[in-house]
């Protein structure tokens, strides 16, 4: 028979005021398997804990029940005490007779009776507790950062500076992301390149960071601390070791009329190109779709002119396996495509552009060297209309959310324009101005007051061309819906920020969940904003939702800290309260019949297939296997399992069943 020790706490008066603790202890002492049952004023006090420790030794207890407050309050305390007393901490249970009893009922027999029921139930449970050891999972102290925008850069640098290896994967030929396209940044109007470029270089030169540009994730295996990532290094048609980045090839390339992605199509680039002057790495790649050699089979001029003979036309894509312990997802966002705004004539009229295009126009390194010239004829626009919420907050367009950054950058655009074209007038059509943030409201005020931006509260119904002007028709809701018509020279759309193409695909590869807009989903909206529901994979930046630079950077540092926390130990220790699939002697091996209905209920992709093989290696049976590194112990699979092959340690079928019986049978 088991030897259970029961310790009933008075909690000063908190329990004993309404519960007859002596009677509880006395009644419980008569239960089979109870070796010791006593009450004491403050179990959680040092003397109280000492009593438990000594009782464990003296009575050689194999289970302890502390009848006191909520386990959510003191379970760790008493489990620690038991461990110090030489009893496995998972053989200690708490009976909650304070929050669930003494505090919610008056001083009556029924209250004491209830307390007795509660304690008896835990006594019966603890008889069925098994000693458990915390789970140790080895950790590969190397992180992967996917995406080289400002968030990725920040995360990578933070982790690397903490002394851990980082592999950064960037889809494009250069890191930098959208921030490298920006001219100035709100609310300080300091030059984006000037603050970003040094960080980009730091990444490239950091001894702890391996940068793999022009590469994408193929697949992911493994679990927290032990991921195996397959990465496809897209062929650059270039031997990077030999290339010095002299750029001769790019000047000699005959095919120079390719719309430049970096300039958002406002400029051109050759087929062999470096995305932008400050690119990192600053070495060219060949754009196979547009290269004459790849399309027509002749040319090879770059190869001829290359002083180091670095061009490799026959270079294949390369798949590399990388083992990492944690992953930070920073794949950023995109903006809505032209076809989305037929009513604004985007894509139809050259002078209707989006915010990022305006950034390029305003950028000193841009196609117009920072002079605001409209794309159609290079004229300097006299009237510019900025349309906020182009797509955002528009259920009709399927985007119900606020893209958050547009209000600020629109104000910034208006200012930049005014600063560059003093005689010009900027107009802004807006729904609401959302300028929450340090110095943000002040910034918008400046745009309105100092730079005389005309803010018109209302939506634009249509934009059309009439003798060289863009007619913008809208309403001013503050002038009780008066129709407004502006003859603009340039129209700038603050297009909605949306998830990247392929975000869904990537999410599925990494088993992270995503919301209905294809933005990656955090594990908890408030308390786990940088975690995903796949342990070991973290989020930062605009791949989660539209974010501005400070937010992205903050999130990145947050994610970096999570990674460093994970890397702080050689093994990560987890509570062993996880599900396990039962094992039986052959020929049954397990009650599991491998229907894998459990696999789809698991929120953590913790359930894998395990093959039982005979000596010859022939598969006899395929069973569910629960990865202890991934299981979080919710137990949904346990309740679902028809053959009762899965059980949840700490809440086993035997334990919960017994609790029901004990609670109802006195």
């Amino acid at each position: 028979m088991s030897k259970i020790g029961v310790f009933v706490c008075h909690c000063g008066e908190n329990i004993s005021a309404t519960v007859d603790c002596e009677k509880v202890a006395e009644t419980i002492s008569k239960l089979p398997g109870v070796a010791l049952s006593m009450d004491y004023k403050y179990m959680c006090s040092d003397p109280g804990q000492t009593i438990i420790k000594e009782a464990i030794k003296e009575h050689n207890l194999d289970g302890v029940v502390v009848a006191a407050c909520s386990p959510r309050m003191h379970e760790p305390t008493f489990r620690k005490a038991c461990a110090e007393g030489g009893l496995n901490q998972y053989l200690c249970e708490m009976a909650n007779i304070r929050e669930h009893c003494s505090w919610v009922h008056p001083r009556e027999n029924s209250t004491t009776e209830k307390a007795i029921d509660i304690v008896r139930t835990m006594v019966e449970k603890v008889k069925r507790n098994a000693p458990l050891e915390s789970i140790k999972v080895p950790v590969t102290k190397k992180a992967m950062v996917i995406g080289g925008g400002v968030a990725g850069i920040q995360a990578a640098l933070d982790i690397a500076n903490a002394g851990h290896k980082v592999v950064m994967i960037e889809r494009d030929p250069s890191i930098g992301g959208h921030m490298s396209q920006l001219s100035e940044t709100f609310p300080t109007l300091d030059c984006s390149q000037c603050i970003l470029t040094p960080r980009m270089v730091e990444v490239a030169q950091h001894p702890n960071i391996t940068l793999i540009s022009y590469a994408e994730v193929e697949s992911l295996e493994g679990f927290i601390g032990n991921f195996k990532v397959k990465v496809r290094k897209k062929s650059k048609s270039l031997d990077e070791k030999l290339c010095t980045g002299c750029g001769l090839c790019t000047t000699k390339c005959p095919n120079k009329k390719i719309p430049n992605e970096f300039e958002r199509g406002l400029g051109f680039r050759p087929a062999i190109y470096v995305p932008f002057p400050q690119a990192v790495p600053n070495k060219p790649v060949i754009d196979k779709k547009n290269c004459t050699y790849y399309t027509k089979g002749k040319c090879r001029i770059c190869e001829k002119v290359c002083p180091t003979g670095a061009i490799r036309f026959d270079q294949p894509d390369e798949i590399v396996d990388i083992e990492v312990g944690a992953i930070v997802l920073c794949t950023g966002f995109d903006v809505k495509k032209p076809d989305f705004f037929p009513e604004y004539g985007y894509g139809k009229y050259k002078d209707v552009i989006d915010g990022l295009q305006f950034e390029r126009l305003a950028s000193a390194s841009g196609p117009t060297q920072g002079v605001i010239r409209r794309p159609s004829d290079g004229e300097i626009p006299k009237k510019v209309v900025f349309i906020a919420c182009a797509g955002s907050r528009d259920p009709a367009k399927g985007i119900e959310y606020c893209s958050k950054i547009c209000c600020m950058y629109t104000a910034k655009h208006a200012m930049l324009y005014k600063h560059k074209v003093h005689e010009g007038t900027p107009y802004v059509f807006y729904m609401d101005i959302r300028a929450g943030g340090k110095m943000y409201e002040e910034f918008v005020r400046r745009a309105i007051v100092e730079d005389e931006t005309q803010y018109i509260r209302g939506r634009v119904s249509t934009v059309y061309e009439k003798n060289g002007k863009l007619i913008v028709k809208g309403v001013d809701t503050l002038m009780n819906g008066r129709l407004v018509e502006i003859e603009a020279d340039l129209v700038v759309l603050a297009t909605a920020g949306v998830a990247n193409d392929g975000a869904e695909d990537l999410a599925q590869k990494l088993h992270v969940s995503y919301d209905s807009y294809k933005f990656f989903a955090e594990a908890h909206p408030k308390l786990k904003p940088v975690e995903t529901n796949t342990a070991g994979i973290f989020l930062a930046g605009a791949c989660q939702a539209p974010k501005d630079i400070p937010e992205s950077v903050a999130a990145a540092s947050g994610a970096a800290v999570k990674v460093c926390g994970l890397f702080a130990n050689n093994e990560l220790t987890r509570e062993p309260l996880i599900a396990i699939v039962n094992r039986e002697a052959p020929p049954l091996y397990s009650n599991c019949v491998g229907c894998f209905m459990c696999q789809t209920v698991c929120p953590y992709q913790a359930i894998e297939r395990e093959e039982v093989k005979d000596r010859s290696g022939k598969v006899i049976k395929t069973l569910a296997y629960i990865n202890p590194g991934l299981c979080q112990g919710c137990g949904t699979c346990v309740a679902l399992c028809r053959s009762k092959s899965i059980d949840l340690l700490g809440y086993t079928n035997d334990q919960v069943y017994t609790e029901v019986m004990a609670l109802l049978n006195d």
Partner: protein, 267 residues
């Protein structure tokens, strides 16, 4: 049915399959399962209104599995059972060749899941009017009446588990009722043991049962067990728009969810 016999002989002689599971004349009301492995045995095969046992049950049987590749005479229930089994990874495509027999007694070979799925998409797999009628009748009773109705029925049960054994989807090697730590369900065929057993079984078939009715036919005490699953099938189709055994890749109703599942009882 000569066409069927010829088909069986061909499949065996051409080594397409090692055994054809079909029907032969029975000694009672229903035809019995025959396992044709020799050409001459094929002459035993019949197909008529007495052939209603859901032969998919045998696909899971140890000895039958080991006979080799299987061809199985199938009706729509059999086909759906096969797809459920497939969706639960109990056999792989190509292991079982279904010989579906049309109402016009034409034999259609269904070697892969797609052919079965395409066929099922064209047939009416809903509850039959008479089935609906019984469910409605019981639903119209008061709770007390329903309780008495079922207690009388369950009292007949002596736990021979013919319902379980005859069900193609009850294939656990160790049934929950045999798991004894804890002993979830009393082993005794007592009123409680019987009620808990039948409710548990029905619940384990929720979203999986294809409504073949073999459990009720198998019961020597004539307990109308299929009513329990009829009722589930109705509700599951209404609440979740789900129907078991229509696709080999289906995810079972209870193994998934929709954030907007509608109920009216959780306060």
């Amino acid at each position: 049915m000569n066409e069927l016999i010829a088909k069986a002989k061909y499949l065996l002689s051409s080594k397409t399959v090692d055994v054809v599971i079909g029907y032969g004349k029975g000694s009672g009301k229903y035809a019995r399962a025959e396992f044709i492995r020799k050409l001459d045995d094929a002459d035993k095969m019949i197909y008529n209104e007495t052939c209603i046992q859901n032969l998919a049950t045998y696909v899971q049987k140890h000895e039958v599995k080991h006979l080799g590749k299987i061809a199985i005479v199938a009706n729509n229930y059999t086909l759906r059972s096969l797809l459920v089994l497939a969706s639960e990874f109990q056999f792989t495509e190509g292991q079982v060749l279904a010989l579906y027999i049309t109402p016009e007694n034409k034999i259609v070979e269904m070697p892969d899941f797609k052919s079965i799925e395409d066929h099922l998409a064209t047939v009416d797999t809903g509850l039959k009017p008479d089935e609906k009628e019984i469910v409605d009748r019981i639903e119209k009773m008061t709770v007390a009446e329903r309780w008495d109705f079922w207690q009388k029925e369950f009292a007949k049960c002596f736990k021979c588990f013919a319902c379980r054994s005859s069900c193609p989807l009850c294939y656990c090697t160790k049934c929950m009722t045999e798991s004894n730590q804890p002993q979830w369900i009393p082993v005794a065929a007592s009123d409680l043991g019987n009620m808990e057993w039948h409710i548990m079984r029905a619940m384990h078939l929720a979203g999986r049962c294809v409504n073949c009715g073999d459990c009720a036919r198998a019961c020597p005490m004539d307990i109308p067990l299929n009513l329990l699953t009829y009722n589930l099938i109705e509700g599951i189709e209404k609440d979740f728009g789900a129907k078991a055994g229509m696709k080999a890749t289906d995810i079972s109703t209870l193994s998934t969810f929709k954030p907007d599942d509608k109920e009216n009882f959780i306060k």
